[in-house]
């Protein structure tokens, strides 16, 4: 037990030191994990052989990642992207794989090995590229969007690749493995449903399993999550999410299919569901940690002896691979008419091999497609190309951009067709009206609420809404707070509403926070927390009703309306002084009486002003329409004459 604690501690320590440092130097978290692995493995030798065992466990992070990839893929969005996805993405993967395979064959590899190398190098690093795009604000550029569709296609293409690679197994390698397996005692047969079945039955079982995942993901998981969410216990929701992913992985393994495929399909089936964001934010940390662990083990497994003795070969291969990838990308950019700087962004950003390359490498080795020494060599190539990626982005920033900035600045700015999203936290009686107004004006909103029944009602009338606690920062992230323009806070819990304002103002200063206040005190707390706009939930409707009462008492409707406006204006003019006094009370109790005194003063002003309407000709309410004095006209004619 002690050993496990120590090892876990070492892994975590290495990660928390290396990853933030790598991020600070613009290398991204994937490289941070790799460096952490290199340090604790080959460099100081703190960890050893157990990395291989851990790696098998950590590969489950990939399964989770594909679940998340699936969750992001709404079928409708996929359909809209189809031409880019298949055109750009398909051609990129196809052409790169073909080119690399061809060269590998020319270099003397057998075609099975060459093909798996081709597949491995056709992939780029989603993690590094998307993160860099976000950091540098390139995600919305033409080049950024094109790169995203390619990365998306690659992520999906991994699934058939995982299915294809075992078919490329080399008989000799399998034999060696089998003799070794029989030699070692205690080896147990893999648990499987299908090992002894007839081929037609096997096919039937497999197909039914896939259908079960899709249909179950779509129809059964929702009542399950609803049931769990209604309990209001967060950890049970987490347990349910993990159960779903692990359960599907288990089912897929039992019928001999890729667990990644199963969870991916389940993800797609849930992409439209109200639990999407909540699921994302629940699974995300597990996926992040497991993938991180996976990269650490890759780093720890890097064979430095191999690197030193083959330094030239590794560097040569890396540059060769990157050149091929860049050429293919450049050609595609030309064919698909990606212009100017975007063409270069597209070419340079995707020229590296990616984290899925590691996954496919270890998968190929396990399936006896690649011999271990070759796989270790290729590991080095993948890692080195990833290390070079930040350099390519710097090249883009320093060399490519200045060249194009001149031309592009002269062009007039494009009309922004995409309005900043509004996130509405809490969609009860209040948030609903806000949302309807925005939607009716074509504003894109993301609606969050932690009441499942509420979400159900909204979904019934076709309002897209998501289950989840908006006060959690990870959920805000999945709801797109980074791109949002406004956050509307209309949740019932007053304290959490204030905390949410603080959090968003601190971490996402660009977002305008517009909050619903429960009462005066809550309004002040929201204002103190930094909310930009605060509207009391009762104020305007109470005033409206008051106006109706005046009309019922035979006040002239126009006069009633003016009175209301005057009321609003007097209130507004005292808002700051009341707030300042309230702040002082919270610091020091002795101001308590001052506040009530101030409040009384406002009431008095209000009364005086309204009274004046009737007697004083220069009262505020009807001031503008006060007729001039009775004798004014004769006076004017006197002046004239």
């Amino acid at each position: 037990m002690t050993v496990y604690f120590i090892q876990t501690f070492i892994y975590l320590l290495a990660a928390i030191i290396a990853v933030p440092l790598a991020k600070r130097f613009g290398l991204g978290s994937v490289l941070g994990y790799l460096i952490a692995g290199v340090v604790i493995g080959p460099m100081i030798g703190l960890v050893g052989d157990e990395t291989v065992t851990i790696q098998h466990f950590a590969e489950f992070g990939v399964v989770m990642m594909l679940f998340l990839v699936g969750l992001e893929l709404e079928p409708k969005m996929l359909w809209q992207m189809r031409s880019r996805l298949l055109g750009l993405g398909g051609l990129q993967v196809g052409l790169t794989a073909a080119a690399v395979t061809g060269i590998a064959i020319l270099l003397g590899q057998t075609w099975t090995i060459a093909l798996s190398i081709g597949l491995i190098f056709s992939l780029s690093s989603t993690a590094i590229v998307l993160q860099t795009f976000n950091e540098k604000g390139l995600a919305k550029t033409e080049g950024g969007r094109a790169a995203f569709s390619v990365l998306l296609f690659q992520d999906i293409a991994v699934i058939p690749m995982l299915a294809l690679i075992p078919l490329l197994a080399i008989p000799e390698l399998v034999e060696i493995a089998q003799t070794m397996a029989t030699a070692s005692e205690g080896h147990h047969e893999e648990l499987s449903f299908v090992s002894g079945l007839a081929p037609w039955l096997y096919a039937l079982v497999t197909i039914s399993a896939v259908i079960a995942v899709i249909v179950g993901g779509h129809y059964l998981s929702r009542p399950l999550f609803r049931f769990v969410a209604n309990s209001g216990l967060r950890e049970i929701f987490t347990a349910a999410a993990l159960m779903l992913v692990i359960g599907i992985a288990a089912l897929m393994s039992l019928v001999g299919l890729s667990p990644a495929l199963g969870t991916f399909l389940a993800g797609v089936a849930l992409a439209n569901s109200e639990f999407r964001h909540e699921l994302e934010s629940t699974v995300e940390p597990f996926k992040g940690l497991l993938l991180g662990l996976f990269f650490i083990t890759v780093g720890a497994g890097i064979n430095f002896g191999l690197l030193v003795s083959n330094a030239l070969l590794v560097v040569g291969l890396t540059l060769g691979v990157m050149l091929i990838k860049a050429l293919v990308l450049f050609g595609l950019a030309k064919t698909f008419r990606i212009q100017q700087s975007d063409k270069w962004l597209f070419t340079l950003s995707l020229a590296q091999a990616g984290e899925f390359g590691f996954v496919l490498l270890s998968f190929s080795t396990q399936n006896h497609v690649l011999p271990t020494d070759l796989s270790q060599l290729l590991s080095l190539v993948v890692a080195l190309s990833m290390f070079l990626t930040p350099g390519l982005f710097i090249l883009f920033d320093k060399v490519v951009m200045p060249k194009f900035e001149l031309d592009e600045n002269e062009r007039e700015a494009d009309d922004i067709d995409e309005q900043g999203t509004v996130i509405i936290a809490g969609v009860g009686r209040f948030g609903q009206i806000v949302n309807r107004l925005l939607m009716a004006n074509g504003v894109k909103t993301v609606v969050l609420d932690h009441e499942v029944t509420q979400i159900d009602n909204l979904r019934r009338v076709n309002i897209k809404s998501y289950y989840g606690d908006a006060t959690r920062s990870d959920l805000l992230h999945t709801a797109g707070i980074e791109q949002a323009k406004c956050l509307v806070i209309a949740i019932d819990d007053q304290i959490r509403a204030v905390d949410l304002v603080k959090h968003v103002k601190k971490h996402h200063a660009h977002v305008k926070v517009m909050a619903r206040a429960f009462d005066r005190g809550h309004g002040y707390r929201l204002r103190q927390a930094g909310a930009d706009t605060i509207i009391s939930e009762t104020y305007h409707s109470a005033l409206e009703l008051g106006g109706q009462v005046l009309r019922a008492l035979d006040f002239h409707p126009f006069h009633a309306e003016q009175t209301k406006s005057t009321f609003l204006e007097i209130e507004a003019s005292h808002r700051d002084v009341l707030f300042d006094t309230w702040v002082k009370i919270t610091e020091d109790d002795k101001y308590g009486s001052k506040y009530s005194q101030l409040f009384m003063e406002i009431e008095e002003t209000l009364g005086k002003r309204m009274q004046k309407d009737r007697s004083d000709r220069h009262s505020r309410t009807v001031r503008g329409w006060t007729p001039p004095p009775k004798d004014y006209s004769s006076k004017l004619s006197q002046e004239d004459s």
Binding site: S565, R623, T626, P628, Y632, K635, L636
Partner: protein
Amino acid sequence: MQKVLILFAHPSQGRSEVNYPLFEASRHFEGVTVVDLYAEYPNFRIDIDKEQARLIEHDIIVFMFPLYWYSTPSILKEWQDLVFEHGFAYGKDGDQLKGKTFLAAVSTGGSEDAYQTDGYNHFTLRELLHPLEQTAVFTGMKYLPPFALFSARTAVEEDRVQCHIRDWHLVIQALQASCFDHTICDQTETINCVMPKIKSCLEGVCK
């Protein structure tokens, strides 16, 4: 330099092809304050004190608007009803506007031919704006004929907007430099008719 206040009234700015560009260009003129009345008072609750203070601070008052039923858009009428108070603009002690200059920058849908005694609008633009002219005179302001753009619905297609904006800038500069003899406009229908004189007076200033 004389200070200019432009009160802009256009309730549908998204569809504006002449007035909005003119207003936006004016924003960058030196010594000019621009006010978008519909933006500042979306509920028509005009702040009388604020508006009167603005008037006192400026020397040249401009109403900028598209002609709606031979008059200003409603918010400008509301603005006049509220701001030109007895005791401020006229009557006892009401001399705060005395000596200022007033003009309107107007666009019309109809052609210049329509705004003639024998045209289908039967009156000239200056005649139709007599209420503004009399208000200005009554409150002691010097009235200038309107700076006008006729046939505004086709101005963009006929490439007249940029020229209109350039002329407007010259008018404003000439007014600010006070190089302008107001009597030259007394008999003209629009200020556009005296553009050559405005240009030559500005050249005089530059020399």
